[in-house]
């Protein structure tokens, strides 16, 4: 019975999947080359064939938005594409900023009845 369970899990793991991935889990804010701004670098991987665009945001502990700057808040990431992007926040917002999140943007004309919106939130290391 236990063997059967392992076989089922193995088969499920082998099925084609669509994944959204962002690292690091605990990014570190560092001094940037601009006065009064802190920087962190994130990496994303898109293994969702049904998603081409992702939105990035910085949030406080209650998921209220915190001002930030990045190259594109919403960016295109092709299927199986990787992207590395920098996020800048004001040094005075350092205590407020807790999460960096990326969220999939689904097209309105999706072919499925219940598409799944995925969102991954990393936490700044000093807030662990």
């Amino acid at each position: 019975m236990k063997m059967l369970k392992y076989i089922i899990v193995g088969l499920l793991l082998a099925l084609p999947v669509q994944a959204h991935e962002m690292v690091p889990t605990y990014p570190r804010l560092e001094i940037s080359h601009m006065d009064g701004l802190l920087k962190t670098t994130m990496k994303m991987f898109n293994k969702r064939a049904d998603v081409e665009y992702y939105e990035v945001g910085v949030f406080d502990k209650n998921f209220e938005p915190v001002p930030f700057v990045t190259a594109y808040n919403v960016f295109k990431l092709e299927y199986l594409g990787h992207v590395t992007f920098d996020i800048y926040i004001r040094a005075r917002d350092k205590e407020r900023a807790v999460y960096v999140c990326s969220k999939s943007k689904l097209r309105k004309g999706s072919n499925t009845n219940t598409p799944i919106s995925s969102k991954i939130c990393s936490k700044f290391e000093d807030k662990r």
Binding site: L12, T25, L106, K108, S110, T112, N113, T114, I116, C121
Partner: protein
């Protein structure tokens, strides 16, 4: 003369050989995998449901975590249509999330019992490393037993992974 020429060509080829590094980084991560997008069945004129006995399919989402006790999974079934034909009345939504399969029955066996329900959202504490599959059920009922108009209905479920 020819032999010298061949020898020098070979020497040049060897001199141009390069080593190509392949690098990788191992770090903790949470990956959300959309395993199955759901489908609504239409058992009667005023109901759309993912229930298998009514011709629907539950959406299934898989979370892979590589660091124990570092993430929460928050999953919210749909609460509105993102696209639909004209709706003749208010729609009532019902939904549920449950653990479907786990890769580690010992470490993940209590996920369902320990989940926290906050409004429409279910929060799971991912205390073990490995994979967890969650089934998302959804039912939309048209008010006043009025019929859904013909057309395609889409409603989005949300799967979130939050670092602790």
């Amino acid at each position: 003369m020819v032999a010298v020429a061949v020898a020098s060509t070979t020497a040049i080829s060897f001199a141009n050989a390069e080593q190509v590094p392949i690098t990788g980084t191992v770090q903790s991560r949470c990956i959300i995998q959309t395993d199955t997008a759901g489908t609504y069945g239409n058992p009667n004129a005023y109901t759309l449901t993912t229930a298998a006995q009514d011709g629907g399919d539950a959406a299934v989402v898989r979370y892979d975590v590589s660091l124990a006790d570092a993430y929460y999974a928050e999953i919210t079934p749909p609460t509105a249509f993102s696209s639909a034909p004209n709706l003749p009345d208010q729609v009532t939504w019902a939904g549920s999330v449950s653990v479907k399969t786990v890769s580690d029955a010992t470490g993940m066996g209590t996920y369902e019992a320990d989940k926290l329900e906050v409004g429409d959202t279910d929060r799971y504490d991912l205390t073990a490393t490995g994979s967890t599959w969650f089934a998302i059920e959804s039912t939309a009922t048209m008010g006043g037993n009025k019929a859904f108009a013909g057309g395609t209905y889409t409603a989005v479920a949300e799967a979130v992974c939050i670092a602790k």
